[in-house]
Structures are given as structure tokens and as C-alpha cells.
Symmetry: C2
Subunit: 419 residues, 2 copies
């Protein structure tokens, strides 16, 4: 049994839908049971959001979910029709029909149970089952919910887990997971295989191919993902879950990711007494912002004050600055600085766990290229550094080469995401 | 409690939705419980049908219903948002959430039960309840269905019946039911009141304001309809159900309707022996065509053959001709004639039941205007005649005048239906 997920750019118009239908029919005719999770067509979601903002300044979450879920209803029905017209029976199912039970948080619901009885029945009847991605429903309220960004990936993975599928194929407009973004690093190499642990770090570090939530779900439920292109039949990248203690020969480094979407806040002159740093981060946490790297400078003995810097999505910068400013008297810091011209580079590899010298090689490569490092943070399988935004792409290429990731040929880049 | 129905042209864009929302809020603030049935925005349904025909030559009924029901999902969610932004709480409900239980005939499902528990709960909580028109679901299959043409009117009436509403308001782009189509007969008068029996005859005779099924449903369940304009606050037309024996002073004639959508088939030279006519109509019935007026000429004694003519929607002409032709040997007729240039005029009024001389006045008026009558059929409260298509509009005006229906002023005509 195979679960296949097609995103909005794969079903953007009638022609694309017919192409996807053909691929699904081929998979079915090869003898597989096939379940498909599909997103809304191309720009449908944005168009619906525009309409919502025209009729109401603050559309309620329940109604917004009701509105947005019309998008997959359209794409899934059309896809089922297209498959049927190729001679294979297909049925489409909404999130609630497919048993995607969620909590009641509209706009970012979490899956609490999957009861895919109708999907099993459809497969038993020999049908291809098309399921609306991104949507579920809450049993208590009886209301429709959506899963938030990357929700269709999560739908596909959750179905694969509940149905015990052999593989969950995520179709996209690139050939798989690369050692770096091929648009920035032309010599990026496609990875045949990556662990879910590495994939999580890459996604967190800015790789846009898979969403963190879907990878987490796959990891927790032991689902094997296969990320591949909907434009060709090449093998893509397998995202695997090696068992505890399984002897997998890991390459030291699986890839390098860059991210220009973050900014840096520096809280200057924080009194170096216990509890002050904690208070600052409590204030930040109250805004709901996702802070990432944190660095605290060693305090100058003369002043007994210290600087604390952290990175966060630029979209959350203003709110956090405001919250900190409001709390200044309590926290006792001297001033705030905001820098939205930073770039973040992350080097990821399960192999670096057992391999000394990775940091040294990274810093050397950047130093030799004249690229300044402003912040550093590490985990067991990742090293992240902050550079100036305008040096990030150079940094990515230099590091890619330094760790021997370069391919002999340039990568082929398709139409770009978010079409 | 008031049920309000808004059609696609009333919610064609964000501005229209906001205008409708304002009206609903006014009704709510006047102290009424309000339930709204809403159609898909403007051309949404046609656009979805176009998409379907692009991906599949013959889209299946189940998937087509799944596709089309996305339309009301969009309009109802937007309408609920717009109402909420005016400070009144509103919730939208799909057909299945609202308990519109239907049989399993996709594309033309019939309502078998209405269990509006969630709507009652919403009203009890003080919400305005917005319900998707046109859609329901089948309990056995668990699948989504649609009610076919005029389905949103039927949804509104069925909700009004199940909730025991005081009135079901049908909002449209004309001021109510007129004695004739104001676009053809400028001196047409708005009726303040019409019986459901008359309304049924008017709808069957080509009046497009209400659909027959909705009027039938209202009649059977004793729902009072109020047909009115969504562009002003004028009183419209009440469609009432006088009780058996209730002494209602009826005007003799309530209106005159014209219809150019029918054609006429004449089966020439049918052997005048028992059973031949029956056989012809069995053949026609098998095609599912809706035949209307039937006329059988007196057979010429010399030939023992007769001609049978009947009218039917032009869209069904080809299929019926083909079926008759295939059956010619069995039926023994000589030839088939098809005429698609006919017009049908119907004069409707409950008062004609007790008033002799209506036919005579009708025929005289048409004769004096030089308009030829080709077929005649009568019921207790209706007289229909077939004329040449190009004389129909003249016939409508002449008859309207002859029965004293003319208003002193010309009717105001709004933007036209089906926008």
C-alpha cells in the first residue's frame, strides 16, 4: 500500500490534475493499493483568504476553516473524476469522512486520532481513495478544522501510519532532498537517503521541502517517506527511521541549509544577577514567538552587565520588541537592538555525532572565505552559525565544497515552489 | 423565526455579501431568530462545471456533487464572517451538519428527512445559522448529495418546515411575483398575495422566480413563502396556503406566464386502434422526458389514422425523436415532425374555477390581435395555449390587458437573474 501526497502546484490546473491522475493510475495498475492526499489547487487558498479579508477584517477561525476546506474539496473531486476517466475507480473523501480527528484549535489543529474505516472500505472495493489534505474535524464540536502550514504533508503521513502503508510518497517540484538548495548551490547533490533526525534538523534550519510536523509524525510512527518529483519518474530521497542501535553507515554531513527569514534581537546591558535572563525569556514566551539561537556574552567584570542575543522569525520581531520594551523597568536592561540583515547557515549530519573536527573545518572554511561568524549554536547533529545576510549564499557554497558535498554536475531546478 | 434564502446573484461578490449580511443583521436585531439558506456565489457553479468537463468527459455524480458543494461552503463561510464583523454571532453549517437527509440520487436528490438539531442549538445560543443551500447527504452511503435545480429554495423551505418558522423569505432580484414577466409586459403588476396552487401553475408555465419543487414542498408542509427583492425593503409577494373551504376572495386571474423553452413533436399518421397512443407515450416516458401539453387530432374517417402532438423541453427533443424513430415499426406511425419555434402562454387564476367565460375572453383577445392558437390545454385553474414563438410576447401583453391586469405605472426591472 502506497500513500501519495500531491501539493497545490502539482494540481494547479486541469492539465496538471490529468498528469497527476495518470501517475496515480500507473501506481494502481502496478498492483498497489493507493491512497492520495491532495492540497487545494494552486492559488485557491490565497484567493479564498483575500475574499475573507474583503468581507471581514478579522474572520473567525471556525468560519475561516469552513472556507478554506472548500479548496481541497474542489481539487480532490476533480482528481477523482480524472482518475475515473482513465478507467480506474476512485472516490474522494473529506477530512471528516476519512476519519481525521483533531483537537478544536481552528487554523492549527493537531491530529488526535485517525479512524480511516471508509478509506479501508474503499481500498477493499478496489477504489483509489483521494483524501482532502490539510483538514480534519473535531468530535466534540462537530466542526471542521484545518491543520495549518504543511497540513497536507501531515495528512498523508497520518494516513500512512493509520493504514500501515509501506511508504508515504511526497510529490513536489524538486527531485528530492538536496545537500543544499540547488537554486543557491548549483553543485548541490540529491541525497538518496536521509534519516528523519537529520531531516528534522534540515527542516528546522530552513529547508522548505518537508514540514517539520510531518517529519516528526513520520518519525514517531515509523513511516518511511519518499520525497520525489511529480515531473519525472526518478527515485527521490528516502527519509528513513533507523532502529535504535541499528548500524547505519552515516555520511558525516548530509547537507547544509540557509535561512534569511530570521532577525536578531540583542538585549543590551542586562544586570548580571540570577533570574534576569529568565525573566526576559518569560516575557518573550508570552508573545508566542518562536525564538531559535540564543547567545549570552560573558559579562564585563567592571559593569556586572551582560548582553543577550537571540534570533526569531522577522514576522515576530515587532511584537517581541514591544513586549520587551514594556517590561524594561522590571528587567533593568539598558537598550534593545534589532538586526534584520542576518543569514543563518546550518550544517546537518548524523555522522558528526562521532566525528570530531567538524566545527573546526566549518569555521576554517568560512574564515578563509572572509565570512564573519556572529553567533554559533550546536546540537548533536547540527551546527548553526549566523552571518551577514548578504554573505549567506557565498557561505553555503563554500561550506558545501569544504565538506565534499559538491556534485560533478549542476542540479536541475524545476519551476519553483508555491506556484 | 424567519428563514431567509439568498440566491447566487445576491452573494455574487464581497460587496453583495456585505449587503446581505447587513440585511440579516437588521432582521436579527428586530428580535427574530434567523436561519439563512445561501447559494454559491454568482458563477461559481458554472466555473466548477467547466473545470469538471476539462478533466473528465463524463464526471461521476458522486464526485460532481462533492465538487459543486464547495460553492456554498465558500459563500456561507464568507457570509457568516461578514455577519460576525457587524457584531452579531453567526455560524455556518453544511447540508449534512444541518441535517438535510436525502436519498442517494446524485445531482437530483430528494429530501427524505430534516434533523436540524445543530441549527436549533445554534439559535438557542443566540447565533444566526447560515446553512448551505442545494446540498444534503445520504445516510446509507455517507455521501454528499445535491438537490438539483432550485435546490437552495428547497433547502430554505425544508428548514422552515422542520423548524416551524413563521415565514420563509425568498430573496431574489425582482420585487415579487408579477402578473406577467415585467421585461416582456412593462405594465405587469406585483401581486401582494398568491395561493401556492396558483404559484405552482405559474411556475410550471414558465415563471422563473420560484422553482416548482420548493413551492410543492411549501404547500405540502404549510410553509408561507415571502418572495421579495434583496435590493430594497419593499413588501414582496406572499405565497399562502388557504385552508380547505377557507373563504378567500380570489381575483379571477392572478397572472399570465410565457415560455419559449419548449418544442413540439407531432407524430403523424398513427393508426387509430386502441393501444397505439399508449405505446407512443410509453416510448417517450422511457427517455425520462417531461412532456407537457398533449393534443390528439380527430382521425379522418377515410384513413383511420390520427396525429398526436405534444410539447416538451427543447433540450429533450432530440432524444425523444430518436426513441420514437427506433420504435416506428412497432407503433406504425407515418412520420415525425419537430417544431422548435413555438411559444406557450398560460393564464392562471384560482378564481377561474367558478368563473365561466375565461376561455372565451382569452381566445377573443388573441383572435382580435391576429394571433393564431395551435394547441390548447386546460386545468381547473389554468388555460394554456401554444402560439408561434415570435408572437408570444405580443400575446402576453394583449392577454394581460384583456383581463384587466395592467398597472398604471411601468414595473421596475433589476439586473436580471443568473448574474
Amino acid at each position: 500500500m502506497i500513500v501519495q501526497k500531491f501539493g497545490g502546484s502539482s494540481v494547479a490546473d486541469a492539465e496538471s490534475i490529468k498528469r497527476v491522475a495518470k501517475r496515480i493510475v500507473e501506481t494502481r495498475k502496478a498492483g498497489n493499493d493507493v491512497v492520495v492526499a491532495v492540497s487545494a489547487m494552486g492559488d485557491t487558498t490565497d484567493e479564498l483568504l483575500d475574499l475573507a479579508s474583503e468581507v471581514a477584517p478579522i474572520p473567525g477561525g471556525r468560519e475561516l476553516d469552513m472556507l478554506l476546506t472548500a479548496g481541497e474539496r474542489i481539487s480532490m473531486a476533480l482528481l477523482a473524476m480524472a482518475i475515473r476517466s482513465l478507467g480506474v475507480e476512485a472516490r474522494s473523501y473529506t477530512g471528516s469522512q476519512a476519519g481525521m480527528i483533531t483537537d478544536a484549535q481552528h487554523g492549527k489543529a493537531r491530529i488526535v486520532d485517525v479512524t480511516p474505516k471508509r478509506i479501508r472500505d474503499a481500498l477493499d472495493s478496489g477504489y483509489v481513495a483521494i483524501v482532502a489534505g490539510f483538514q480534519g474535524f473535531n468530535r466534540t464540536t462537530g466542526d471542521i478544522t484545518t491543520l495549518g502550514r504543511g497540513g497536507s504533508d501531515t495528512t498523508a503521513v497520518a494516513l500512512a501510519a493509520a493504514l500501515d502503508a509501506d511508504v508515504c510518497e511526497i510529490y513536489t517540484d524538486v527531485d528530492g532532498i538536496f545537500t543544499a538548495d540547488p537554486r543557491v548551490v548549483p553543485k548541490a547533490r540529491k541525497l538518496d537517503r536521509v534519516t528523519s533526525e537529520e531531516m528534522l534538523e534540515l527542516a528546522a534550519a530552513g529547508s522548505k521541502v518537508l514540514y517539520i510536523r510531518a517529519v516528526e509524525y513520520a518519525r514517531r510512527h515509523g513511516v518511511t517517506l519518499h520525497v520525489r518529483s511529480s515531473f519525472n519518474n526518478n527515485e527521490g530521497t528516502l527519509v528513513v527511521n533507523p532502529k535504535e542501535g541499528e548500524n547505519v553507515e552515516e555520511p558525516i554531513i548530509s547537507g547544509v541549509a540557509g535561512d534569511l527569514s530570521e532577525g536578531k534581537i540583542t538585549v543590551v546591558g542586562v544586570p548580571d544577577v540570577p533570574g534576569k535572563a529568565a525573566q526576559i525569556f518569560r516575557t518573550v514566551a508570552k508573545t508566542g514567538a518562536n525564538i531559535d539561537m540564543i547567545v549570552q556574552n560573558i559579562s564585563a567584570a567592571s559593569t556586572s552587565r551582560t548582553d543577550i542575543s537571540f534570533t526569531l522569525p522577522k514576522s515576530e520581531g515587532a511584537v517581541v520588541l514591544q513586549a520587551l520594551e514594556a517590561d524594561r523597568a522590571e528587567s533593568g536592561f539598558e537598550s534593545l537592538q534589532y538586526d534584520d540583515q542576518i543569514g543563518k547557515l546550518a550544517l546537518v549530519g548524523a555522522g558528526m555525532r562521532t566525528n570530531a573536527g567538524v566545527s573546526a573545518r566549518l569555521f576554517t572554511a568560512l574564515f578563509e572565505a572572509g565570512i564573519n561568524i556572529e553567533m554559533i549554536s550546536t546540537s548533536e547533529i547540527r551546527i548553526s552559525v549566523v552571518t551577514r545576510a548578504d554573505t549567506l549564499n557565498d557561505a553555503l557554497r563554500v561550506v558545501h565544497t569544504a565538506f565534499g558535498l559538491d556534485s560533478d554536475v549542476d542540479a536541475v531546478v524545476h519551476g519553483g515552489t508555491g506556484r
